[in-house]
């Protein structure tokens, strides 16, 4: 062991997620010593198929989510939303609401409170939540609401019904101002200005990169040129558990906040500020949470209002957004509008690409990976802009900016390939430097039977036509050094691993337990985990697919230290073996030919047991994953109906901690892509400034009849003995693959998502092209 010598240091770049925004920072870490995972095929629990340790409570309804918290004297909160996309709040009169028996608190209900309270809160929350944006757009509003759905007040009452009545009894007078909710309209001269901030224009330049002149000149060398525009609408995270908190403050100097969040440790500071308490006096609890997908960092406007209500009533307040609230004010995946001119040579080289990229994130900046995405173009030039509209600010959503970029770039690559008459798969390989993609594309092609694809798009007899498409994607997935883990082994043999991190449904609880159990040679159910509590060891927020790669190294380190600490105590019973020679396997502790059962061994521990601490080790994780997806669809060319038949996705992930959970993540990515490509999209009325589909009846998530045969494949050719996050990677390549499969099937290139029957039918009548 190297513990005695001072550790050498090295500098590594790690992702840091603040409010869902991922930035890379350089940190110093130990350069030697510490544990290693060992070969990926030598694990006893990891890299196996582990059922979730929290599954029994979830399948039986016993799991307590924030929505499910019931506390003595608890009130129910609701927000009052602006029905106008752009308006000045003239007056808020809550007198009638306050008279309703059972109404206990109203905030943001006087002129002063609107200015200082909820609008300030809206701005603050928007800043914190606006993971893809900066600036002060929502905050600068002051008395002005900037999107339909923006909270202007909130109430708390004895029952949900009375809270609803109170919301309706609050009278708000607005001076309606001109609005703009469409990018094209926002860009027009004389368009209503979206934010009052004089420094913030409706269209803002984000990036210019590449060589415009060289790219323009390079088009002359091209044998084929494609000019096309692609669009994707604003999407909704659609977390089944809406955003919200239960704020328990009963007066005094401490509070507990139960939060549906992706960052346990993002809650106390936010809540403390609203409650006027010390940060250390606020405990955040995240026992189970019902989905976040990038939208749940910080306490949010709903949490700020809940704190204000709880403070006013001196009683716990349960404020979970309604589904309609959730659609209107809980963030979105920014839409996109991407214009290309691209050219290639006959031998299949992408020679020139010019892109104009608009990010459509409402009040937010939106996000969009820069083109040509992961492809290599000899010459390229891109200009990237944000176009603002009177809609809630975009937030991070599973792989921010990548699905949008993937749809456009992979469609464009497909168009070029067909124009050149080259197999789209081969065309991709010619323009992808990293051979991991080649390997994955070849495997996916074998798996789906790429040779069966429609040789002529739209070809074949009959109304039902099948086709295939493929695409690739990438993500980071490395971790950072924020997790502090403790493993306790009690004298009775019970083992607990504790860290404040949260489980979004990704399997954090399971992997945490499994690492410790494997290290100590125990069964997974012989270890208990405690997570989701800000009183436990610090942990990073679950954004940027950083959870596994941040958490598992610290857990491994803590487990290793626990093993050595137990070994040191037990060694005298095992003929005085050195601690590192003691073997822990199959519930037994052995050395020098002697064996003790785990409980016997633990009897040698001091009465308080042992507690070992773990810190992040950079060598236990890595960054950078590749994925390739193939999709097969069937298009009814007489109705425009698309049925996804089969999807195959190959994904590398370094060391898969839990194969079952990784496969489920890949499935989930493919299914969310399916939603994006075929069904989902916010619909706004340009003149009313209102969203027309703020509910699950009209915002269509894929359901049981939409799901194709799914084949999630972990790419075990990736031999990295390191943990890499995969959550976000999984949603990317399937977007392009599905869209391209539709073209291959029916010959209609739909350049605007979602690819719905109307677009296909109109495309067929126009001979294969749609706007």
């Amino acid at each position: 062991m190297q513990q005695q010598t001072p550790a050498k240091k090295k500098k590594v770049k790690v992702p840091r997620v603040v409010g869902g925004v991922e930035t890379m920072v350089e940190i110093e870490v130990d350069d030697e010593g510490g544990p290693e995972w060992g070969p990926n095929d030598k694990h006893t629990l990891l890299n196996h198929r582990l059922t979730r340790v929290d599954a029994p409570v979830k399948v039986s309804g016993a799991a307590l989510y924030t929505h499910d918290r019931r506390l003595p004297g608890m009130l129910y909160g609701r927000v009052v939303r602006s029905p106008h996309a752009h308006a000045r709040v003239l007056r808020v009169d809550a007198s009638a609401a306050r008279r309703i028996p059972g109404v206990r608190a109203v905030v943001g209900a006087t002129d002063e409170e609107v200015v200082e309270g909820s609008n300030k809160a809206a701005g603050e929350a928007a800043k914190k939540n606006r993971t893809e944006a900066g600036g002060a757009e929502a905050a600068a509003g002051g008395k002005v609401v900037l999107f339909a759905g923006q909270p202007v007040a909130a109430v708390a009452a004895d029952t949900p019904e009375v809270a609803e009545d109170a919301v309706r009894a609050i009278r708000v007078e607005y001076e309606v101002l001109p609005h703009v909710v469409r990018a094209e309209d926002s860009m027009k001269e004389g368009a209503p200005k979206v934010t009052p901030d004089p420094n913030e224009q409706n269209v803002e330049e984000r990036e210019k990169r590449g060589d415009a002149a060289k790219t323009e000149a390079a088009f002359a060398q091209c044998d084929v040129i494609v000019e096309a525009e692609y669009r994707t609408p604003i999407l909704h995270h659609s977390c089944l558990e809406t955003h919200g908190n239960v704020v328990e403050y009963r007066g005094g100097d401490a509070a507990t906040v139960y939060a549906s969040t992706q960052g346990t440790f993002t809650i106390p500071s936010d809540a403390a500020q609203e409650l006027g308490l010390k940060e250390s006096a606020v405990t955040a609890i995240v026992e189970h949470m019902g989905g976040g997908f990038g939208s749940k960092f910080g306490i949010g406007i709903e949490g700020m209002l809940a704190c204000q209500l709880s403070k006013q009533a001196k009683a716990p307040v349960h404020l979970m957004l309604t589904r309609k609230d959730e659609f209107l004010l809980a963030g979105n995946r920014s839409g996109s509008w991407q214009k290309f001119k691209a050219g290639a040579t006959r031998d299949g080289r992408l020679v020139a690409l010019r892109a104009t990229q608009y990010r459509l994130g409402g009040l937010g900046r939106g996000s969009q990976a820069g083109q040509p995405y992961i492809y290599t173009a000899a010459n390229f030039y891109r200009e990237v802009f944000s176009v603002h509209t009177h809609e809630d600010a975009s937030r991070a959503m599973r792989a921010p900016g990548h699905p949008q970029a993937n749809f456009a770039m992979e469609s464009l690559m497909d168009e070029l390939a067909y124009k050149l008459g080259i197999d789209p798969l081969e065309f991709r390989k010619k323009n992808l430097k990293d051979t991991a993609y080649h390997r994955q594309l070849d495997r996916g092609a074998r798996e789906i039977g790429w040779e069966r694809r429609n040789r002529t798009p739209g070809g074949g007899a009959g109304a039902l036509k099948r086709g295939m498409g493929c695409a690739v994607g990438t993500w980071g997935g490395g971790g950072n050094n924020q997790c502090k883990v403790d493993v306790t082994v009690a004298r009775d043999g019970s083992v607990t691993v504790a860290v404040g991190s949260q489980d979004l449904g990704t399997g954090t609880r399971t992997l945490t337990r499994a690492i410790v159990a494997e290290e100590l040679g125990l069964g997974i159910n012989e270890v208990a985990e405690r997570i989701g509590d800000s009183r436990l060891g610090n942990a990073n927020s679950s954004g940027g697919s950083t959870t596994s790669a941040s958490l598992s190294p610290s857990v491994k380190d803590a487990a290793t230290n626990a093993r050595l600490a137990v070994a040191a105590k037990v060694a005298p019973l095992l003929g005085g073996a050195k601690p590192e020679e003691v073997k822990f396997a199959a519930g037994q502790v052995s050395a020098g030919g002697k064996t003790l059962a785990w409980k016997q061994a633990c009897a040698a521990l001091p009465s308080a047991g042992i507690t070992a601490h773990g810190e992040w080790k950079s060598n236990l994780q890595a960054s950078g994953v590749h994925g390739a997806c193939f999709a097969e669809v069937e298009v009814d060319t007489e109705t425009g109906h698309v049925r996804a038949v089969k999807m195959v996705q190959v994904q590398d992930v370094g060391l898969p901690l839990n194969r079952l959970a990784v496969e489920s993540q890949i499935n989930g990515g493919m299914i969310q892509s399916l939603g994006m490509v075929l069904y989902e999209g916010r619909v706004m009325d340009a003149q009313l400034g209102l969203q027309l589909n703020p509910g699950f009846g009209d915002y269509k998530l894929p359901g049981s009849l939409e799901i194709p045969e799914l084949v999630p494949l972990i790419d075990d050719e990736d031999k990295r003995e390191a943990v890499i996050g995969v959550g976000e990677a999984a949603i990317i390549p399937s977007v392009g693959a599905l869209a391209n499969a539709v073209f291959n099937a029916c010959g209609v290139r739909v350049r605007e998502l979602p690819i719905t029957p109307d677009k296909i039918l109109m495309g067929l009548t126009k001979g294969g092209q749609t706007a």
């Binding site: 019904e161 069904y679 003149q687 359901g703």
Partner: protein
Amino acid sequence: MKAFEWVSPASVGEAANLLKSAPAAKDVDDAARPIAGGQDLLTTMKDYITRPARVVNLKGIRGLDRIEPDGRKGLRIGALVTLAELEESAEVRRDFPALAEAAHSIATPQIRNLGTVGGNLCQRPRCWYYRLEEAVCLKKGGSECFAATGENKYNAILGGGPSYIVHPSDLAPVLVALGASVAVTGADGKRTIPLEKFFTLPSEGNIRRENVLRNDEIITEIDVPASGFAAHSTYLKFKERDSLDFALASVAAAVELGPEKTVKQARIVLGGVAPIPWRVPKAEGYLAGKTLSADALAGAARLALEGAEPLGKNAYKVPLTETLVRRALAKASGLSV
């Protein structure tokens, strides 16, 4: 949902009186409402599209939940029969297959377990604007139909104006095709209304309503007569999302065939494309006496959509519905054309 008073009478007459005796409402959508399965009514109440101060429960009334032979090979279907019961009824499946298919096509198993036949016929329109509380459109007492020039992808291509809603019922096109009628009881007595005359166009009836029912009237029964074409009937519903969706377009078709594939008579009713179930007599007449062929079906399909006037974003419904007409006729007559 706004608070309301609840009453659960034991007879249809009492129910009608309770609807009539409710305190006068300021707006038609504040008036007392009957509730059966509640699968649509409650959604409109949750969104404050309807705000009844009194809700009259019909499920305490006996005898409205049966499917019985009418003695002339037709069926009498109680208004409280659930969609699941209709779908699973052996008689319905055998004698009126289109009706079973239509019932099966509705929403989800959970909704079909509670939703009733009467409620399905009386459900309120589907239109993004109508269903959005903040948009006070023509149907809700406002002065314009926002769908006319707005986001009208799902709106009417036939029979529209001044409102462009579509009627969402899946049973209605089939029941119109089968020549069904509804028995209705009000505070002032009973009447029987052929279903074809039950639904009203926005340009004809009360723009705030979709049928001829007075506020105190309750559907008690649907009478589906025997006919030469009932056994050869089908319902095709096209959804954007198969799992749960309303029809972008649907077709109820019934065909009575003579010798040599000749059509004695045909019924074709379109759903999801007009404010009411849209019968197309011209297409029906065209088929009479014709030998069924691909050309005949295509001709009927063209005629069925002849008068279509698509809005800005729903021209696709024309070819889509034509396809459904052809396919429905082929299926109803057992042909592969």
